[in-house]
Amino acid sequence: MTSMMPADTVRCDACPVLCYIKRGQAGACDRYANHEGQLVRVDPHILLDRAVSEGQPLVPFLESGHEWDGKLMRGAETFVTAIGAGTTYPDYKPAPFIISSEVEGVDMVTVVTEGIFSYCGVKLKIDTDRHLGPERNLVRAQGEPVGHVTTGEYGSQMLSLGGVHHLTGGTKSEGRVTCETLLNLCNGKEVELTIDDGAKVIVAAGKPPIVNGQREERMRVGCGSATIGMFAKQWFGKVDDVVVVDDHITGVLSEHQAGKLLGVPDTGIRIKGRRSTPGRYFQVAQPGMGWGGTDIEDPLTILRAFKPGVAWPKLRLLMVSTTGEQYAYFELDEKLQPVEKDLPAVLRESVARIKENCEPALTTVLFMGGAGGSLRAGVTENPVRLTRSVGLNLTRVTCGGAPVYVWPGGGITFMVDVTRIPANAFGYVPTPALVAPIEFTLRKEDYGSLGGHMDYVRPLSSLKISSQQRQMPSRPENPWPLKPTSTGGTQQ
């Protein structure tokens, strides 16, 4: 596909239409365009705008394409993010934007800066049942080690990429490739990774992973045996036997413990493959793109002849995959041969329910960085007080307006879901290190008492929306960053 695309055409991934956009043209939405071969939605400095009415996921913002009408930004409904704000590194100067606004009668200050993170990385959760590689093995990008395989989780494999040792502890090339890999992942772009003695994966935040060339569409509802367990009761009485085809463990209702408990009689069904425990079979076929992650297209190929004397003519058999995407219904003829028939209405619902219970398989990317260093000097003259204030939850940390999880303990090490941050919020410096937005919001009085740069605080209304700034709607899934902090746990 890519090779067929002319060099001056870009593919927009802002929405699932995935428009091909020629140079100088806009996509179907008129919001994203190809500017000299680059996909753009010019987002120089992003201001998040919040809904007027509390509690509703409604967000007022300037209509795109409309000129700024000359009015100043409304106070507390606008939150200045650090995206594109720049930084005053090496940080002994006050941060570029220290903004005051009144929220619910409380004077709040937001210190806005872009942090240069030498200590940072990403944690990937890849929804797949495939074996990506042994735990602790190296993960490589462009041949360079950029991270390692860590724990296997329920339906997902975790990778840990980046970190200071790959960024600055290895060769120059290792550092450069690690930085580029992290940057692309944080900005939602696709990255190809190979795992030593394991798989090749193509991953992007919020998108299905591609493992060895196969796109993972859905997480299965469970293995074949688990599917029998979950749905046995819904099948009971409506069909005589059910085979849930799965590359891992194929389940058979009449032999499975769940079927036995319900009193499902033997059907004389015989499955190819290796029987594990009753009603659970391994290796019924080869792995592939067919039914339930196997290579089969015709489910009958995993059955042997029904046992005469046990099976009976007109016996009803449902075969279904672990995602419900494939299914077939059979009845035995007089010679006990299965004959395919239309799926009866009474079974349709259970098949649909399997499908409904399969969540989309995704790769999720959490950025993790340490803001506990010299960056703090841009916020306050007494850095440790900022750390303490964050620890006490008096200061809220956000990343491009998105909520972060601040790890308990010393320093300000936080994690954030990159898909909750506006597009292309991350940058890099050749150090190599990542540049990420970070905002600290706290009460004005608290800011003064922790040694804040009070002389540099300016009201929000002093920022005019210009070509250098861009207003965009806040994301309904993110809590409003300016809401005064109450006491209690970390904002999540």
């Binding site: 695309m5 002319p6 055409t9 991934d13 802002a14 929405c15 699932p16 239409v17 995935l18 428009c19 091909y20 956009i21 020629k22 043209q25 996509g27 179907a28 939405c29 008129d30 809904a51 007027v52 009415s53 509703q56 996921p57 409604l58 967000v59 007022p60 913002f61 900005n187 939602g188 935040a205 919020g206 998108k207 898909t419 597009a423 292309n424 709607p473 994301r475 309904p476 899934e477």
Partner: protein
């Protein structure tokens, strides 16, 4: 990175704005206190998955009408395919010609099954699905050119009339047109039907081979457009009065045909300052354009 859908009230606090990728809906509803909120919530809930549903079947939706229509699974996709089906044997058209109307219908459907509303509309970039409880009516303004908001006429749609869909197409609009009409507005039973018919009639307003018309292969502008190599109108030079008449006449011919088949209830065709209206009897014609250079009323059936 997938931008999330936008769900918000417009600054007037009354209308709902839903936006996802290329879909942009403005929604209004009238009803008892509480009902409108319920309807808006239902609209938003239904809306958020529509783009993904459509994109899953995009290749089939971009293929000529009739191809693979039976394999389409999404309700919106099926509605799109059904709306263009009547034209499949006569010309090239794809289900995409009805996408805006079909989406509007779907969201309206979710609203009226969730709440009791006296009136409601879902406006998808000029393709509008309507709901009218008995006795209610809507007044519809028509613009001469989609890029200039000046009304050239209006129509009143009453609950007793069968019209529940309105659509406008023209070469200046967001979608490509094979014809030269500045705007063709169609009133039909449903929005998806109106959308497909507006495309067909706007394509028919044409002066083939005219030197003053600039046409470019659709794929030159948008590589993945459903029209492929077909030439789409990019500019129309000044036409003489005679040429305008000729262009409109080929369009009204098609509109009359659609009217006689019951596919539409009325059409208003606009080309360089001239308007023609084709409508069944006087039902709509009476309230249609006000000050127009040329005015033709065609009574097909009483």
């Amino acid at each position: 990175m997938r931008d999330p859908a936008i769900i918000r009230l417009l600054p007037d606090g009354l209308r709902l704005h839903l936006h996802d990728g290329p879909i942009d809906l403005i929604i209004g509803a009238d009803g008892e206190a509480g009902e409108v909120g319920k309807a808006y919530e239902a609209a938003a809930r239904r809306f958020v998955t529509i783009l993904d549903e459509l994109c899953e079947e995009l290749p089939l939706l971009r293929a000529a009408a009739g191809i693979g229509a039976k394999r389409l699974r999404g309700v919106v996709a099926q509605r799109m395919a059904a709306a263009v089906m009547p034209y499949a044997e006569h010309c090239f058209i794809t289900p995409m010609a009805a996408v805006a109307g079909a989406v509007a219908e779907e969201v309206l459907g979710a609203m009226i099954s969730a709440a009791v509303l006296s009136r409601a509309y879902v406006n998808n970039g000029g393709d509008i699905a309507l709901h009218l409880a008995p006795g209610e009516s809507f007044r519809i303004g028509m613009v001469e050119r989609p890029d200039r908001a000046s009304l050239f006429g209006s129509a009143t749609i009453e609950a007793w009339q069968p019209v529940r869909g309105i659509a406008t197409s023209g070469w200046r609009g967001r979608s490509f047109s094979l014809g030269i009409a500045d705007a063709v507005t169609i009133l039909a039973d449903r929005a998806a039907m109106a959308d497909a018919a507006a495309t067909i009639v706007a394509n028919a307003v044409d002066l083939p081979g005219h030197a003053g018309i600039t046409r470019v292969a659709a794929c030159e502008i948008a590589p993945d457009n459903d029209l492929g190599q077909r030439l789409v109108t990019r500019d129309v030079g000044k036409l003489t009065g005679e040429e305008t008449k000729q262009g409109l006449t080929s369009g009204t011919g098609v509109a009359l045909e659609l009217l006689s088949q019951g596919l539409i209830h009325a059409a208003a065709l606009h080309l360089q300052g001239c308007t023609r209206v084709v409508a069944r009897g006087n039902e709509f014609a009476a309230s249609m354009p006000l000050e127009v250079a040329e005015f033709v009323r065609s009574a097909v059936h009483a």
